[in-house]
Amino acid sequence: MLRISKFLKFEVEVLVVRDSLNEGAVIFFHPEFAKKIGIKENDLVEVSKGDKVLRLRAKLSNFAPENGAYMPNNIFSSYFTENNFKKFKANVEIADGKESTVEEILDSL
């Protein structure tokens, strides 16, 4: 079944936080917010900002900001941050394929 949200892009404010249990190419949404923008647990999402694009695994967490998302602090979140190391705005949409890898980012160097 096709999901409408597949064709929608949302601008989301993403916090960068330390997360002692989770690492890797993941992004956490508040369950209510995820419902609103049509994202389910374990969906693959494309997060983009300017010409930077990463595919991340979406997870749901009550600890996420109510109208946004958070990412653990690692190379995937650092890929998007600028002067404010703790948050950035990016576009999110449902995607296909696999999570981005560290190697992909390093290869871009």
């Binding site: 330390r18 002692s20 249990l21 600890f63 650092s78 941050t81 160097l109």
Partner: protein, 396 residues
């Protein structure tokens, strides 16, 4: 053993029957992955001997016009002292993570601009436990159970039942969720507005968070010992921290409130103290110009292409600083000293493999509150940060 997984430097960690006891998951992960992904001595990604790698490092740093030294937050005070000496010898820039982390907070405490105390005194005496822009559950998991909210102390015989918890955050974090009875969670949109509300309340006026601030001030006044722990959420939440420190001083006119940075790398505070003792500045220092400046922060130096070589120790800029800045490391000659094959090590010109301070080498570290701890490693590796830095220093 002292766990060097974060700036709590927990001193009750035991290893028994192959299990690590009492350490949190963060500490356990460091221990359990100790042998994974270890660094090898590399020059231009070719494997060499440790001596050759050090020799090449000396050559790069010695020939550089504008070298920098960066990192040192997970190594010992002893190694940090040698690093500062190398920077002096080279007339180089030296900086650590604190320039984008909680450096200003440590600086304000070292300069005695704000009152501070030790975690032991917090445990024994503190009534209000105040976390602002910090989520110790993730950054220093045992902070609340070992030092602040949960343990019983001389004046807090019933532990958390004898305390009042305040949590300020932009989201309902794990720590915020613990603010139940005798507690308040203040969800802010802008930290500046809360600072303003405190300032207004102290002048008898009402700000946006008048009700919440009123509750907090009333609770603070109930004790002569309260403690606030601030995290990166605060640093990036306010326009400037000076205004925040001013607020702390104002609060102290009506109630005693001590400030302690919440958590960071195991020995970030050690680096700040070592450099402070030597130069009067805590980070982003230029030995050429004999002063500290925000333009001398490692991130700024990279941004403005000011340096041609860097010695990185115990830090992985590709993971921790914005990619647009960290990718510029590709353009300069980079020497990485690290126990692990970090992402930055993968693209470095020279890699010198080292030992994990605390687990594999001894020395001193400084806890988040300034208390010094002697490390009790499981084993003692000869090739450690101190040994490597001394060799580099001798070579120069």
């Amino acid at each position: 053993m002292i766990c060097t997984g974060c700036s709590c430097l927990c001193d009750d960690v035991e290893i028994r029957d192959g299990k690590i006891l009492n350490a949190c998951y963060r500490g356990y992960k460091v221990y359990s992955k100790l042998s994974e992904n270890r660094a090898r001595a590399l020059v231009d990604r070719r494997e060499v001997s440790v001596d050759d790698a050090i020799e090449k490092a000396v050559e790069i740093l010695g020939q550089a016009k504008n070298p920098a030294l960066y990192g040192f937050d997970t190594t010992t005070v002893e190694a940090q002292e040698v690093a500062v000496k190398i920077a002096e010898k080279l007339n180089a820039f030296i900086d650590d993570n604190s320039s984008f982390c909680l450096g200003e907070v440590v600086e304000a405490i070292l300069k005695k601009d704000v009152p501070s105390t030790t975690l032991e005194d917090v445990r024994d005496q503190a009534y209000v436990i105040f976390y602002w822009g910090a989520n110790p559950y993730s950054s220093a998991p045992r902070h609340m159970s070992k030092f602040t909210y949960y343990p019983r102390g001389m004046k807090r015989l019933k532990g958390y039942e004898d305390r009042f918890l305040v949590v300020v955050d932009v989201r309902r974090s794990e720590t915020a969720k613990l603010a139940k009875k005798n507690a308040i969670f203040i969800k802010v949109e802008s930290d500046d507005e809360l600072v303003e509300s405190f300032n207004l309340a102290l002048e008898g006026k009402a700000g946006k968070y008048a009700k919440e601030v009123g509750t907090v001030i009333t609770e603070l006044k109930r004790s002569d010992f309260n403690a606030m722990f601030v995290g990166l959420g605060l640093k990036y939440g306010v326009r400037n921290l000076d205004g925040f420190f001013e607020m702390i001083r104002k609060i102290n006119r009506v109630a005693k409130l001590y400030l302690i940075p919440s958590a960071f790398h195991s020995n970030m505070r050690g680096f700040n103290e070592v450099l402070f003792e030597k130069t009067g500045s805590i980070n982003k220092f230029s030995f050429k110009e004999q002063r500290s400046d925000k333009l001398f922060a490692f991130t700024e130096l990279l941004k403005r292409d000011e340096i041609d070589a860097v010695l990185l120790l115990g830090t992985d800029p590709l993971s921790s600083i914005p990619f647009e800045i960290s990718k510029k490391i590709m353009r300069i000659k980079t020497v990485v000293v690290d126990p692990k094959m970090s992402l930055t090590a993968k693209i470095a010109k020279v890699v010198v493999p080292s030992a994990f301070s605390g687990f594999e080498s001894s020395g001193t570290m400084v806890r988040s509150d300034g208390v010094r701890k002697r490390l009790e490693p499981i084993e003692e590796k000869e090739v450690n940060d101190l040994w490597i830095l001394k060799k580099i220093s001798e070579g120069l």
